[in-house]
Amino acid sequence: MTSVPIPVEPPELEARVLRVGSYLLSAAVAFFFVAFLFAFFYLRALDNNGLWGGGKRGHHVHPASTAGIVILVCVLASVALARRAGTALAAGWGALALGLAAVGVQCWQYAALGFGPGDGGYASVYLGWTAFFTLFALGALLWLEAILASARRGHAGPVRVEAEIASFSLVWTMLGFVELVAFCLLYLVQ
């Protein structure tokens, strides 16, 4: 087995690749949640066997809506901080903490819901949408942690860190938008 050295590339190419890649990743993430958006409207309009709300009166009052507001605020604040993290790394750590807080509150909320996945169409959409959103958020936060850890230890230069933070922010902003739509539909419209 022989080997051949990898040629050196201009740093701006990496930034360009990351930026375009993150735009496309955001589009893919959006279309993933479009499936849940469609499920929400489709099942709600159909109200099959009158079971959209699990056949119970009063299901429209979400039992843990305060937690929903906290999650939304945490995610949106995290998005706002992440967008500044390219120039101030402390903002990145703040974004990470707020994102993790949102995930934590979501996990706590599941324990206090008062309904389960089998309680009608709304319950299915609510739990499916929020659970996969939480998984996506966790994945994104791992990405942010990796960027911040590399920057803290000096393994990545400021240009590269800035490019990576900008890419992360794009995807994180898209997830913030998904959370906003989810809040409007799952808590306000129901």
Binding site: T2, I6, E9, F32, A35, L43, P117, S124, L142
Partner: protein, 631 residues
């Protein structure tokens, strides 16, 4: 990801059988499955909705999840992210190896990944083909004889799913990954690790799908319709997981190809000079990035219905099976064009070379591909014409489906214009390209019957549909695949394929393909239903003829396999650098292509299709100063 600032010392090489390679992946994958199944068993204990059932879908899904993690860990896919999470220097290589072992592990060389795809996907394609032979064996007699009805249904499902899954990666996997960087003058793909991941998810998906056999298969066919999918046994879990893996692979492959084309083109490679195959890859990638995530979400809903007691698709719990049909076909119809568009790119790439004329209507071809891409998102409900959709929706989807034949027709105009008064050389790639147009025309014309509501109502669910989609997918995509293989494989491997065997394979494939599938239109009109192993005795002669032709078609595929093995392993005749006298940038490189493609990034100075044009500029120069002087 470049490795310019990172040390090579951290790269782990344990040598021999130990290390991050296929063998470790298999070991960890199998171990992971049993560990996951055990944990799933513990988690499932006491769940009300599982009590009284004799299967545990939580255990099966956890097994697949852990098997996937083990498989990827064994190949070394977690080394890079784990080191970065820990804030340590990433274990990126500073050099690419050239030994045979690189084909059995994570490789960041796009050419290695292309060849991995070629053989990896090809192996599963053969398995799908064997299933087809078993199906035709059963259909030799009108009564249940060779396999029981339930197993026949599983066989059909396995064949369909394997073929759709693998053909999704059939052209862009090997040829997209191998050729796009070469054609645009790049040294690599935008995300080399992601590229490798897209390949290694594919064999895993194939193996998971095959594991359905251990659970007696699945009864839904390749579409996995609810509510049957909710009621099916654990083989359905294998279907869901494997299709999800393919969905992930398709999404990431599209993202990678699109990023590469958008950001890494060589200087001078304007949109008007982009090779038409790259346009095909670009338009397909758009569909892959946008449609495949919907498939993943759709299957995740099915997964939670089966394991977590949700009711997305269960009418008895407030869900609806129509939700599945809508979501599935929102992916499923663009998927048809994920299969077809790369084929368009290949045949339009090949025609000018062997007609020795410029590609006629380059912009028309691009418009056709982009038009198909756009319209393919607005046609999905034609699959639901007979499923009880609101009748007022039918005309809209009938119209959009018929509209899509217009941009598809552009591709035929391009072909006719290019061939007109050309000096045609009937080489093997050219023969396959021409056969593509013949087959795809029949596939396309028969598609009009299915887009039209009244005729769809009478033909839906019959063998007419089978004939139609085999003409488009096998007659189109697979013939395009063979055209590409005979055209580019000498460049990819440095070895020439046997010409005589190739010609015999073409004629047997073309003749027996048509003898197999054309009579199925008649079988459909005579009401022979899909997915059922019994049929009216009066149709036996027709079916015996089709089965005999299908076996001969299978023999033609074996001939290709024989040619491949003979040429690559035994004869080993070195291929010429540019045997077709092509102007394509990839043909200006030495054979085999060097590890990093270009010593110097080329400057594109002309169109790749200026055949027979007097005073045409060379397609590229590798000397930047000379290019500047010319400009």
């Amino acid at each position: 990801m470049t490795a310019t600032a990172l040390p090579a010392a951290s790269r782990r090489r344990l040598g021999g059988w130990i290390g991050f390679n296929l063998l470790t992946a298999i070991a960890l994958g199998i171990g992971g499955f049993f560990l996951g199944a055990y944990i799933g068993g513990v988690l499932a204990a006491g769940k009300d909705y599982l009590v009284g059932t004799d299967q545990n879908d939580i255990g099966v899904f956890m097994g697949f999840l852990f098997a996937t993690v083990g498989w990827l860990a064994g190949l070394g896919f977690f080394n890079y992210p784990v080191r970065r999470l820990a804030g340590r220097p990433a274990s990126l290589p500073l050099e690419e190896s050239t030994g045979v072992s690189r084909f059995f592990r994570l490789s960041t060389d796009h050419k290695v990944v292309g060849i991995q795809y070629f053989f990896g996907v090809g192996a599963f394609f053969l398995v799908g083909g064997l299933n087809a032979m078993l199906i035709r064996t059963e259909l030799l007699t009108p009564n249940e004889r060779f396999v029981p009805a339930g197993q026949y249904l599983s066989l059909v499902g396995l064949h369909g799913t394997m073929m759709i899954m693998m053909t999704s990666a059939f052209i862009l996997g090997p040829f997209g990954n191998y050729l796009v960087p070469l054609m645009i003058g790049s040294r690599r793909m935008a995300f080399p690790r992601v590229e490798s991941l897209t390949f290694w998810l594919t064999p895993l998906a194939g193996l998971v799908l095959l594991s359905a056999i251990a659970w007696n298969g699945f009864p839904t066919g390749w579409t996995g319709y609810a509510p049957l999918a909710d009621e099916a046994r654990a083989g359905m879990d294998a279907y869901i997981w494997s299709f999800m893996l393919i969905g992930l692979s398709i999404t990431l492959n599209g993202l990678n190809l699109l990023t590469t084309i958008l950001t890494m083109r060589a200087p001078g490679l304007t949109w008007g000079r982009l090779p038409i195959f790259v346009w095909g890859a670009l338009s397909t990638s758009v569909l892959m990035v946008l449609a495949a995530p919907v498939l993943i979400a759709t299957l995740l809903m099915e997964l939670t219905d089966r394991s977590a007691n949700t009711s997305f698709y269960l009418a008895s719990g407030g869900g609806s099976p129509y939700l599945y049909e809508n979501l599935f076909w929102f992916f499923g119809h663009p998927e048809v064009y994920i299969l077809a568009l790369p084929g368009f790119g290949i045949v339009l790439e090949i025609l000018p070379v062997f007609a020795r004329k410029p590609l006629w209507g380059y912009r028309l071809a691009v418009a056709g591909m982009l038009g198909v891409t756009f319209l393919s998102f607005f046609v999905w409900q034609h699959h639901l014409f007979v499923s009880g959709i609101n009748s007022t929706l039918r005309p809209f989807y009938m119209l959009t489906t018929e509209l899509i034949s217009i941009p598809t027709g552009f591709i035929f105009l391009n072909a006719i214009g290019t061939l007109w008064q050309g000096r045609i050389r009937f080489t093997v790639p050219m023969l396959f390209a021409l056969a593509f147009f013949f087959n795809f025309l029949i596939g396309g014309l028969s598609g009009i019957f299915l887009s039209d509501v009244p005729s769809d109502v009478t033909t839906h669910g019959s063998f007419f549909v089978i004939a139609h989609f085999h003409y488009t997918i096998m007659g189109g995509l697979v013939f395009a695949f063979f055209a590409a293989t005979y055209y580019w494989l000498p460049k990819m491997t440095g070895i020439a394929l046997n010409e005589r065997l190739a010609r015999i394979q073409f004629w047997t494939a073309f003749v027996f393909f048509n003898l197999t599938f054309f009579p199925l239109f008649a079988a459909g009109f005579l009401d022979m239903p899909r997915r059922v192993s019994t049929y009216a005795p009066s149709l036996q002669t027709l079916n015996d003829f089709v089965s005999a032709s299908a076996f001969a078609l299978g023999g033609s595929m074996l001939l290709f396999l024989g040619n491949l093995i003979w040429s690559l392993a035994f004869a080993r005749v070195p291929a010429a650098e540019n045997p077709w006298r092509s102007r394509g940038l990839e043909w200006q490189l030495p054979t085999p292509v060097p590890v990093h493609n270009f010593d110097r990034i080329p400057v594109i100075t002309g169109s790749p299709y200026d055949y027979g044009v007097e005073g045409a500029a060379p397609v590229a120069t590798f000397d930047a100063a000379a290019a500047a002087a010319t400009a």
